[in-house]
């Protein structure tokens, strides 16, 4: 079976872990600092705070900007439940909005129409690694007084390529408001599990550094030296969601090879695009894969054929996935709001295998099994 996603991980990462074992400091420490500095440089970001998961990144960011009971956060329904749970964990209400069928990115017209006086933030999702329209989103900071908490779980390494923007050529996380990354096992870069928040807001960043270590005041500074403080104050609520030295060492090793990972993923996406563009009943996303760090390759098929399509691929030894079921379908988040586009997309999307260990022959195999379904 050709797997949908797979981590590219091995001896380099093990060597990093061996170093951490030898140093005898496994928790948050000097490797966490090195990892933060390395991704800060890579992204061109002002502040980077490393945490244990992408969900923690979103949760801390929301708590850090004061989202709580009674507040609303607008988020596309078509995202993993992590985005929604991060919002409801704060006691706030996720307000689901539509996605653009061509890109599966947040539909900003629809999102704007859902802004109320209770809206505190918008959470755009850089789906598959494609950047959302950040210029328009950032204009809402002043116009509506909103914060923009980017769910950049898919987008570590992606460039912003809007020709008309002054941010053109910058990486996601280098500008904007608050970008939240994930380094879970399936991501382009993995820490085993991990996440990070990149923000230009210095005050927020120093708050988040305390919040990830149970609110222990300035504990990050001691940990960065592989030490702990024995006399400390705890001024506010915090959570246990730092990134430990082991995970950071894995991330540092991965970062050295990130360029190769992205190049291989782009190559595979282009092969797929090239092979599938002539199939009329298979809808490809309108993505220029050469401009992003592609996390997934997603296509759309007619809702009534999706099950047969996925079974056909499985029988041909090709794993497929659905990213994701719209969140307004889940019992926890069901609402009266109408989301006909998300409903349709939720029934049409299929994810094909994309990871660095796919051999050329496997890519060819995926292509031929897909083509055979459509008899082309």
């Amino acid at each position: 079976m050709i797997k949908l996603a797979k981590a590219t991980i091995g001896d380099d990462e093990l060597a990093g872990i061996r170093e951490v074992f030898a140093a005898g400091w496994l928790g948050m420490g000097n490797y966490t600092l090195r990892f933060e500095e390395a991704i800060q440089t890579y992204l061109g970001a002002k502040n980077v705070v490393a945490v244990n998961t992408g969900t923690s990144a979103l949760h801390l960011a929301l708590v850090g900007i004061g989202v709580g009971q009674g507040d609303e956060v607008i988020v596309p329904s078509l995202t993993y439940v992590a985005s929604f749970q991060a919002i409801s964990m704060c006691g706030a209400q996720p307000v689901a909005c539509e996605s653009d069928p061509e890109t599966l990115l947040i539909d900003l017209d629809d999102a704007e129409a859902r802004i109320t006086e209770r809206t505190k933030a918008v959470m755009p999702v850089h789906y598959c690694g494609q950047p959302c329209d950040m210029d328009r989103l950032l204009s809402w900071k002043d116009r509506y007084g909103l914060r923009i908490v980017e769910d950049a779980a898919h987008a570590f390494g992606s460039d912003y390529f809007d020709d008309s923007s002054s941010h053109r050529g910058k990486k996601i996380g280098a500008f904007g408001d608050i970008a939240c990354f994930s380094f879970d096992p399936m991501k382009v870069l993995t820490c085993g599990d991990g996440g990070a928040i990149a923000t230009g807001d210095d005050v927020l960043a120093s708050k988040l550094r305390n919040m990830r270590l149970l609110g222990v005041d300035r504990e990050s500074e001691a940990r960065y030296r592989n030490e702990r403080k024995w006399f400390y104050d705890v001024p506010e609520q915090g959570y246990r969601c730092h990134l430990n030295n082991i995970s950071a060492a894995i991330g540092l090793s991965q970062l050295k090879r990130l360029g190769q990972f992205i190049a291989r993923r782009r190559e595979i996406c282009l092969c797929y695009d090239d092979a599938f563009s002539s199939i009329p009943t298979l809808t490809l996303l309108k993505v220029n894969y050469l401009q992003i760090a592609p996390f997934m390759y997603v296509v759309r098929v007619a809702a009534e054929t999706r099950e047969a399509f996925m079974s056909h691929l499985k029988a041909g030894g090709v794993e497929t996935g659905i990213h994701y079921l719209p969140n307004h379908w889940h019992s926890l988040y069901r609402s009266d709001g109408q989301l006909p586009i998300a409903d349709r997309l939720g029934n049409e999307i299929v994810t094909l295998p994309l990871h660095c260990s796919l051999a050329d022959s496997e890519v060819e195999h995926v292509i031929s099994v897909v083509r055979s379904f459509f008899s082309v």
């Binding site: 061996r18 599990d193 915090g238 246990r240």
Partner: protein, 111 residues
Amino acid sequence: MIPVQRPYLGQEELAAVGAAFDSRWLGLGSVVRDFEQELARFIGAKNVIAVNTGTSALHLALDVLDLGPEDEVIVPSLTFVATIQAIIACRAKPVFCEVSPETLNMFGGTR
């Protein structure tokens, strides 16, 4: 400098990590199930659910009790702040109690 605490681990643990890397499944998976089963046997517990931190364990355990702002949880003051933060994260109120000077546990003596 002799450190107060230091983890004791090495080749065996590295080999186990290497095996997990080789399986290419790094997230919650079959090794977690094995670990939970071993833990249950070791402790003699009926159910074991593995999570990412001790704080998460406390937080989840309190969360299923459906605590609200009206609820109180009694906890010794002499503990790491994680214990307290887990209670506050569930929006409940920590109520501090003393510990025995002899054991630093909530009650004098051990059982």
